[in-house]
């Protein structure tokens, strides 16, 4: 690695103060520190040694935790395509074809998201003279996982640019943003280009093939919602009888849990989200409190709705909320974003709980938004400072009371 180091050392003066490319210092720094951790030593006074962690390692841990979802999503994209076009029957048949179809669809989205976001990051870093932040490693991976595989690439690019600029850079960059960047990108797509990210037609890639007779591309959430409006059968029955051309049990609880269903690329598999959650919790990178209380909140709200069940959707067994749509993915990867989440330990319980509850409320009671997790996370991002405010206030009151004893 010495030759690499030598190259960098040679180029360094160009970017340092007084050099020709001084303005691009932070772009150079990002590249340099990506390859080599710097030779900085600790200050004269204060901690003389430092913990081996740095932000890059923390962020890459989150990216690694998303890989199960990503790999599953890639395969499932191909699987759904062949299912819908009558090309396959078994889960593991045509493994190579499915993977290839998935890679062809998903990889460009990832590349576009990283490229578009990376360029914006770099431009801001150079103009605003702040270091390029590693948080984008995570955002760039999250955005592809929350859009359907059929999303046009230009929309991915536009949404990424919008989110990085409006949700992050205008607040001062990573660490200062109020909203989760990836969720903002998705919300942008949802409101700006609803045709490509909602309805029944976008979740399964068909390409130039014709779907088999009786195929419906609806997601479990819209099936459940329609069952509620319809009122002739329970949600579980509606799910069971839906889309039987793709196999009898496509929307069975276990199949939805594993994730062989249509949906956004990375969100379909609750199982893989839980694998990610296990990685995040074991490594201590994400707050287990948010994850646990998020799932609990959804279950709790589902149970409350059962009590007031005036239609089939309200009466749906609460655990179905866990496995339908993007709830699991959203709670594990979006709600736990340390910057936009609640920052006090007590606050994290409340924050997670509300995300779970709001998701179910939006899903069940709002006809316009079949999926609730996106808006629930964004809404609670906005409320997180308020939650923290009261938790901090409680701490202050506690110390004030202590004074009088």
């Amino acid at each position: 690695m010495k030759f690499l180091r030598d190259i960098l050392d040679k180029q360094r003066p160009l970017f340092e103060k007084g050099g020709k490319l001084e303005g691009l210092f932070y772009a150079f720094e990002a590249g340099e520190t990506f390859m080599f951790s710097p030779n900085h030593t600790t200050a004269i006074k204060g901690a003389q040694v430092k913990d081996a962690i740095d932000l890059k390692r923390m962020m890459i841990t989150v990216v690694i935790a998303m890989i199960p979802c990503l790999l599953f999503g890639i395969y499932n994209t191909g699987h759904q395509h062949l299912l819908a076009t009558g090309g396959t029957a078994g889960l593991w048949e045509d493994f190579g074809d499915k993977t290839w179809i998935g890679v062809k669809l998903v990889l460009p989205i990832i590349i576009v998201a990283y490229a578009a976001g990376g360029i914006v990051e770099a431009i801001f870093a150079v103009i605003r003279k702040h270091p390029i932040n590693e948080g984008f490693l995570v955002t760039g991976m999250l955005i592809p996982l929350v859009v359907p595989a059929t999303t046009p690439l230009w929309q991915v690019a536009l949404a990424t640019v919008f989110a990085v600029v409006i949700a992050k850079e205008v607040f001062g960059g990573t660490g200062m943003n109020i909203l989760n960047v990836a969720m903002t990108a998705r919300a942008f797509l949802y409101f700006a280009y609803p045709a490509q990210i909602s309805g029944d037609q976008v979740w399964t890639y068909l390409g130039d093939k014709v779907p088999i007779d009786g195929f419906s591309g609806a997601t479990a959430l819209s099936v459940a919602y329609n069952a509620g409006v319809d009122g002739t059968q329970t949600v579980v029955e509606a799910l069971a009888s839906h889309n039987t051309v793709l196999g009898a049990d496509i929307f069975s609880f276990s199949n939805m849990f594993v994730g062989w269903i249509p949906g956004s690329i990375g969100e379909t598999s609750t199982l893989m989200a839980l694998v990610g959650a296990a990685i995040l919790i074991a490594t201590g990178v994400a707050s287990w409190k948010i994850i646990v209380s998020g799932f609990a909140g959804a279950y709790l709200m589902g149970t409350i709705m059962n009590l007031f069940a005036s239609n089939a959707y309200l009466a749906m067994p609460p655990q179905y909320h866990w496995v339908m749509g993007g709830l699991a993915f959203g709670i594990v990867f979006m709600a736990t974003d340390p910057v936009s989440a609640s920052q006090t330990e007590t606050g994290k319980w409340i924050y997670g709980l509300f995300i779970g509850m709001l998701t179910v409320i939006i899903r069940v009671t709002n006809p316009a938004y079949p999926e609730g997790i996106m808006l629930a996370v964004l809404l609670m991002n906005v409320f997180a400072p308020l939650i923290d405010y009261y938790v901090v206030k409680a701490n202050k009151t506690r110390r004030l009371h202590r004074a009088t004893v």
Partner: protein
């Protein structure tokens, strides 16, 4: 009533190079220094001696004009060889070349039973010992005119490679007891002496009268006096507590019994780069060169006055700080490392993020160097600060209040209860590599001088 407090939050950094329980026989240090920069909050230092003057141990050589009852005395007898100044004539060091046999200024012996509280304070303030008495809040040298609510002595040190007082103070029981008696007179409340609850109480602290002996157990910072105060009698706005180290208690005892300022002290020589890590008997402010030179495993090292969490870098010819009871010598870390952020490592980490494996072997002793392990980044809060701060304090919010210079918030969030060392672990574990201790001091100064 003595109190037993079990703490769970915190983190022990296990390093190679603990001092053996033996006295090393290095050549005695030749020169000693008083460094005004050691005394945080010293406003207008004034040197009372000139180069070439001869002094005895206990001769006043420095005062702070803002608190001029308190004498800063020479720790040894000898000749003032240099008064070192830096930029804008900032006073850096007063260096004394020591006699081979230390002779002492004779102070009047004090009859503890008969003396008034204020007279005792004045006598101690003039003895050279007083700067050891630290006032909370702010962590500055105490004002003899104040009467503290309580006085706290932490009788164990949980910092990395910290000296063990049981060894360093062996045989000083008599002085400790008299020291405690004197402290009891200075406060309107109690003298708290806090010992390590995870071990048997050392004999030197076991049979003390006049002090409340409390037991604290748990990882670092359980031994920090600030943490202990928080759990015993927290400081609120307008209140004052004093703290001092067991070494200072012994000095007070000696002063009262023998009428001398005896600044002798056991210093622990620690760290992975020392061939011989042991204790050495010397005086406050000793030059380290005779302990370090010829005692090094490698050439490229950092000598630290104090421990690796709160210490200060000094040179191989530098002087031990006034408050430091140890020096630590570790490798300098000024090297580049390829893909250090991604490759698995067993380097010490409180975290368990991908590839950080040190949590698997918590007892293992590590060699740590001074590499900063990453670059400064925006504050990303992950809850770790709270988990290494065993106090009902929200460090992140406190630090943000300091950054925002929000005085009300700082007060309400506990700025009066902390000094640098109490949040030093936050600086260590911080993912974003912020200078937390510097920030804490900034906040304290904002409040102190407001």
């Amino acid at each position: 009533m003595s109190k037993i407090v079990k703490l769970t939050k915190g983190f022990d950094i296990n390093l190679v190079g603990k001092a053996k329980h033996e006295l090393a026989n290095f050549t005695a240090a030749q020169t000693f220094a008083i460094k005004p920069t050691d005394f945080i909050g010293m406003q207008r230092p004034k040197v009372l001696v000139n180069e070439g003057d001869t002094v005895k141990a206990g001769t006043p050589i420095l005062i702070d004009k803002a608190l001029d009852q308190v004498i800063y005395a020479s720790p040894v007898s000898g000749e003032i060889v240099e008064i070192k100044r830096g930029d804008r004539r900032k006073l850096l060091e007063i260096i004394i070349l020591a006699d081979s046999n230390v002779s002492f200024e004779n102070f009047a012996k004090v009859d503890l039973a008969g003396i008034e509280r204020d007279a005792l304070a004045i006598a101690l303030a003039g003895s050279g010992i007083w700067p050891n008495i630290i006032q909370r809040p702010f962590g500055i040298v105490a004002n003899p005119a104040d009467t503290p609510k309580n006085i706290f002595v932490s009788a164990f040190d949980t910092h990395p490679l910290a000296p063990e007082f049981e060894f360093a103070l062996k045989g000083q029981e008599k002085y400790i007891q008299v020291g405690i008696d004197a402290l009891a007179k200075l406060t309107s409340g109690k003298v708290h002496l806090n010992v390590d609850g995870s071990k048997n109480t050392p004999a030197i602290f076991g049979n003390l009268k006049g002090a409340q002996v409390n037991k604290f157990s748990g990882p670092h910072p359980a031994g920090n006096v600030g943490v202990q105060i928080h759990h015993l009698a927290p400081i609120n706005k307008g209140e004052i507590a004093w703290t001092l180290s067991p070494f200072a208690v012994v000095q007070i005892g000696k002063f009262l019994i023998e009428g001398v300022y005896d600044a002798s002290k056991m210093i622990a020589l620690t760290g992975s780069e020392l061939t011989k890590a042991a204790y050495v008997k010397t005086y406050v402010g000793a030059n380290v060169s005779s302990f370090v030179k010829g005692n090094l495993n490698s050439g490229h090292v950092r000598v630290i006055s104090g421990n690796v969490l709160t210490g200060e870098k000094i040179s191989c010819e530098g002087f031990v700080g006034f408050y430091a009871n140890q020096i630590t010598v570790i490798p300098e870390g000024d090297y580049y490392e390829f893909l250090a952020w991604a490759l698995p490592t067993t380097r010490v980490s409180y975290h368990r993020a991908l590839g950080l494996l040190s949590f698997l072997s918590p007892k293992k002793e590590h060699v740590m160097d001074t590499n900063a392990r990453g670059e400064e980044r925006a504050f990303v809060q992950t809850g770790v600060f709270e988990s290494v701060t065993p106090m009902d304090i929200l460090p992140v919010y406190l630090l943000k209040a300091i950054m925002a210079e929000d005085f009300d918030e700082m007060e309400e969030l506990g700025i009066y209860e902390v000094i640098e060392e109490d949040l030093a672990l936050c600086e260590f574990v911080d993912v974003s590599k912020h200078p937390v201790q510097e920030l804490v001091r900034k906040g304290i100064e904002l409040i102190q001088y407001s």
